[in-house]
């Protein structure tokens, strides 16, 4: 039920932000369509912790600024490697990164965070390991230090 209510408010805010028409008739159409979508989603059984990870919200204010900072840092680093005189300053490497998350959702967030930072791309998840392609050895070593892994696990919290 908690998730259904949250889903309704989420849909409603998207509707309100995108509509721009706030007459009674149009707004009630909006409310009706959001309710319809919530009802359909519940019938499909997709309104759960995985589709709407409310339990992640408390950790987000700490994780988001950090990941944005990391993305900016790695953008500058990758730009420098691309623009270096002579040949691009790269030494690509394919390796497995261990993960410490205890849910699929946690691993998905970690893998997506890896891909989001330029210089590292997650290629596949097998078991608890993520195969990663890094643009340079230094970038790979940085990831293997595991700060991002720790922070995602922290964000994931004590679920299950």
């Amino acid at each position: 039920m908690k998730h259904a209510v949250a889903l309704f408010f989420l849909l409603m805010s998207v509707w309100l932000l995108n509509s721009g028409h706030y007459t009674v008739l149009i707004t009630s159409f909006g409310i009706a369509s959001c309710l319809l979508v919530v009802w359909l989603s519940r019938r499909m059984g997709i309104v759960d912790d995985e589709a709407l990870p409310l339990h992640l919200l408390p950790g987000l204010p700490r994780y988001l600024p950090w990941i944005v900072k990391e993305v900016v840092k790695s953008n500058l680093d990758t730009s420098r490697r691309i623009l270096s005189l002579g040949r691009p300053d790269i030494s690509p490497r394919l390796f497995d990164a261990p993960t410490t998350q205890h849910s699929d959702l946690g691993r998905v967030i970690y893998a997506n965070s890896i891909t989001l930072t330029p210089g590292t791309v997650s290629i596949r998840v097998h078991g608890t390991k993520i195969t990663v392609h890094a643009i340079a050895d230094a970038v790979a070593d940085d990831l293997l230090e595991g700060e991002m892994d720790r922070r995602v696990t922290l964000l994931e919290g004590e679920t299950e």
Binding site: N18, N75, R93, T117
Partner: protein, 113 residues
């Protein structure tokens, strides 16, 4: 002197454009498919973010700015997905990345041995 917010907005838009161009240069300079994904990543993240931020400042506090913020969020969620889908497709089809300083293809090394 122009409105400082307007100036800031242009600074964001221009620096975003510079990162988009760097991504394009990377696409040309880097040697293989996997390394080029990293260059595309620059365009996808900082380039697009800075341009959107600049546009948001330009719009001021309005419904359009909120829509741009939504766009920022969707980009955050879908950007890595697209990069990953490309990388995984190439990997599963057996495209081997060039590796190390010397950009060696592991397969060629095995063949020569």
């Amino acid at each position: 002197m122009a409105n400082p917010i307007e100036v800031l907005s242009w600074v964001f838009i221009l620096s975003g454009s510079i990162f988009v161009i760097i991504g394009g240069i990377g696409l040309l300079r880097l040697p293989d498919f996997y390394t080029r994904i990293h260059a595309a990543g620059i365009t996808d993240t900082l380039g697009a973010w800075l341009i959107l931020l600049g546009l948001m400042l330009h719009e001021g506090f309005s419904l359009n700015a909120a829509k741009l913020a939504m766009l920022l969020f969707f980009l955050l969620a879908t950007g890595p997905l697209a990069s990953h889908a490309l990388a995984k497709a190439a990997f599963l089809r057996g495209l081997d990345p060039l590796q190390g300083r010397g950009l060696v293809d592991r397969h060629e090394v095995d063949d020569n041995a």
